[in-house]
């Protein structure tokens, strides 16, 4: 593995009681790419992201993000996180939610908050309470909360769940623009057409990394026409 990796994890094990959620996993993510964690529900994607963020600690193994050992408080101010749940305060407005997270990250300024809300195309509803928004709009606000402090690394846990195809395409276009700006993105998904848009993919199954590479490489290695087929072949091996 190259030493200038944005994320480097070695021998990761995470147990919850008798359940082994992550089982001896090694991972390397290059900077400025979108790395997709692909796997079915319960494969360990969310646990892996929480480990990489330092929200939970591994039972075994080590993680280095941007050269710093996780968990690291300085690192957290440079990372953005969009959890699977919306993680918004429903009784606050869009602006109040985004401002709150900006303040937590010590990055608050009214123009920056406004700009971030515009970025996710929510300027017209900036003063609306989140509880009055549609599911797709809430997802956009949730993304704005993860982006407001201009993170250099972004963790997205199934960011397009319940989002219509048009908005999903907008999200992915935006992720690509962030990549161009040098932001490294780790995204959990089990949607195959989204996985195709990732720079590299890691196929997770029962807490293990089955295979790793670009979508084309994975298809070729498995001798499969689609990623879904490739995934099924890898998991049956």
């Amino acid at each position: 593995m190259p030493t200038d990796l944005a994320i480097q994890a070695k021998g990761l094990v995470k147990r919850f009681g008798s359940v082994v959620a992550v089982n001896g996993l090694d991972l390397g993510v290059e900077p400025g790419i979108t790395y997709g964690l692909l796997g079915p529900n319960g494969s360990g994607k969310t646990t892996l992201v929480r480990l990489l963020l330092g929200v939970i600690l591994p039972n075994e193994g080590s993680i280095t993000v941007m050269g710093r050992r996780v968990p690291d408080r300085v690192l957290r101010s440079q990372m953005g996180y969009m959890p699977q749940s919306l993680a918004l305060y429903e009784d606050l407005t869009v602006t109040e939610n985004v401002s709150f997270y900006a303040r937590l990250m010590d990055a608050y300024s009214p123009p920056r908050v406004e700009e971030t809300i515009q970025l996710v195309d929510m300027a017209s509803r900036a003063r609306s309470a989140v509880s009055t928004l549609s599911g797709g709009m809430k997802r956009r606000v949730s993304l704005a909360c993860a982006l407001v402090h201009r993170p250099v690394m972004l963790f997205l846990d199934e960011p397009t769940v319940g989002v219509d195809p048009q908005l999903r395409a907008q999200f992915w276009d935006h992720f690509q623009r962030l990549n161009q700006q040098g932001v490294t993105i780790v995204v959990c998904t089990h949607v195959m057409d989204e996985a195709e848009r990732c720079t590299r993919l890691g196929l997770l199954h029962q807490g293990r990394l089955l295979a790793e590479g670009t979508a084309r490489e994975l298809r070729a290695r498995a001798g499969a026409e689609t990623l879904e087929e490739a995934f099924l072949r890898f998991s049956s091996q």
């Binding site: 963020l53 929200v55 939970i56 305060y89 990250m105």
Partner: protein, 378 residues
């Protein structure tokens, strides 16, 4: 016709559908062991406590007796007084009386002045003197009731001797204090504790349920910062609430008080620190808002019953006295009574000790809240 039938069908009750709802609720309860346990445990705990407290017999009141007249009629008077089950009579000297009542060593004292035998014989003479701790609502009425009983017994025995109206001196508070004046300080503490606990527990539970706690855990926030932020946010509202309760009780209801209201705020503030952190800690054991509310009969009700608001703690069994001294509301109640009824300051030893106990409780709750936070985020 078919349209009519359609309407009838819509409105008719289907027992199967009703049973389906009832069955679903039963299934949910069966799997929610915590709720089931609380449904059974909470009424048993609360009813047992109530049954015990309602049947509680008051312990005899310690009353000093300063005898300055040793004549036989006065001796009989003192013997009758000592015979009353209401009192535990201790002999004292006149110059000790105020100090002993002020320190709380005795609730009241009766001074029988020189020449009182004349009064007992129905002739002009000095009045009986009574010194009472007015900070306790029961003291003056019970002492006067006891003296009236003595008078009646003597009157029956001697045919004619009647007790003159004693001269009553109050060490604290005074005859103008009514029952509400004694209860008001405890209400301030109870409401502050109850609402702050409830708001924090539910607020924090929502933080977990909506996933915002997860995002906070991924931010540079430390656990101490989260706890302090919650304390500050809810503490401000608790202070506002205390101000409303104080304003209403003092200026609208018109209760009597004799201390510095700023000290009352200080006591409520320290109590609130504990309540916020207890709310955070206990909310980590609840999965739903219903479960957080269900802690009330186990956490709040016993405090209301055992904190000395309705029943004096010294009258309780030693076990309940021990429990009462573990409860923050007991110390808040003591401190607020000392300040609002006795007019004591923050430097007074008893107020300082109560504040210290509240601070210790808050510190323990901060530690527990931090552990709870770790549990909730991992």
């Amino acid at each position: 016709m078919s349209h009519q039938r359609g309407n009838t069908e819509k409105r008719s009750m289907n027992p199967k559908r009703i049973a389906a709802i009832a069955l679903r609720i039963a299934l949910q309860f069966r799997r929610d062991h915590r709720t089931l346990a609380l449904i059974i445990l909470a009424p048993i705990v609360v009813l047992s406590l109530l049954a015990y407290l309602i049947n509680l017999r008051g312990s005899p009141m310690t009353v000093g007796l300063a005898m300055e007249d040793a004549s036989p009629p006065v001796e009989r008077f003192s013997q009758e007084l000592r015979r009353l089950p209401l009192f535990n009579v201790r002999d004292v000297a006149r110059d000790q009386v105020e100090g002993l009542v002020r320190s709380g060593e005795m609730e009241a004292a009766v001074i029988i002045p020189q020449g009182y035998a004349l009064r007992l014989a129905g002739q002009p003479g000095p009045d009986l003197e009574v010194v009472v701790d007015g900070s306790r609502s029961r003291t003056a009425p019970v002492v006067l009731q006891g003296l009236a009983q003595v008078s009646l017994r003597l009157a029956a025995a001697q045919s004619g001797a009647a007790l003159s109206e004693p001269k009553v001196t109050y060490v604290y508070a005074g005859p103008q204090y009514k029952a509400l004046d004694y209860f008001a300080p405890t209400f301030i503490a109870f409401f502050a504790f109850f609402f702050v606990y409830l708001l924090t527990a539910i607020g924090f539970l929502r933080e977990r349920a909506y996933g915002t706690l997860e995002r906070l855990a991924a931010s540079p926030l430390t656990k101490a910062e989260i706890v302090l932020g919650y304390m500050l946010g809810f503490g401000l509202f608790a202070m506002a609430q205390a101000a409303v309760i104080l304003f209403f009780t003092v200026y609208i209801i018109g209760i009597h008080y004799s201390g510095n209201l700023l000290i009352v705020f200080l006591i409520v503030a320290v109590l609130t620190l504990g309540a916020v952190n207890m709310g955070i800690f206990l909310s980590t054991f609840a999965r739903t808002e219903l479960q957080a509310v269900q802690f009330i009969p186990l956490v709040i009700t016993p405090q209301g019953l055992l904190a000395g608001i309705f029943w004096p703690i010294p009258d309780m069994h030693i076990v309940f006295q021990g429990i009462a001294h573990l409860l923050p509301l007991t110390y808040a109640n003591f401190a607020l009574q000392e300040v609002m009824v006795k007019g004591k300051g923050v430097l007074d030893a008893s107020v300082a000790a109560d504040l210290g106990a509240l601070l210790l409780f808050a510190a323990i709750q901060v530690a527990l809240a931090s552990i709870g936070l770790r549990r909730a985020t991992t």
